[in-house]
Subunit: 82 residues, 2 copies
């Protein structure tokens, strides 16, 4: 079972890494780049679960405890494929 | 114009960060977690482009030059929304 979880900074949290990338893009001549926000993407391989709901619950728990910092980050379970 | 680009390690490149997360998950009792690979996710805001193809070309160029290290990483333009 494969799943993807994405973790992004909450909208009101500053992202200096994203800003550095935006500045670098401008420096390289990509003036069309207005803003960049960097997040994380986790590809997980899981033992086969009883059903999708069980897998989704496990992934949400894991994201909240381990993958994301809920104070400054949001997470989303993007996809679950068996 | 909003776009998402994801950058992942090539399949044959070791991912010690992902492994550390997998070990931590097991330690916390999530034995169903077999493997974890960590990647990056960039949310970009761009000036409106003439069309989707132009935006996609710009994003691929940017990903190759700035967002990914093509020696060890793959990138994919996930979505483009105007």
């Amino acid at each position: 079972m494969k799943a993807v979880v994405t973790v992004t900074l909450k909208p009101d949290v500053l992202d200096p890494q994203g800003q550095a990338i935006q500045h670098a893009a401008r420096f390289l001549g990509y003036d069309a780049v207005r803003d960049v926000r960097q997040g994380k993407r986790f590809e997980l391989t899981l033992e086969p679960a009883a059903d999708r709901e069980e897998a989704a619950a496990l992934l949400s728990e894991l994201a909240e405890k381990l993958l994301a910092n809920p104070v400054i980050e949001d997470f989303r379970v993007e996809s679950i494929e068996s």
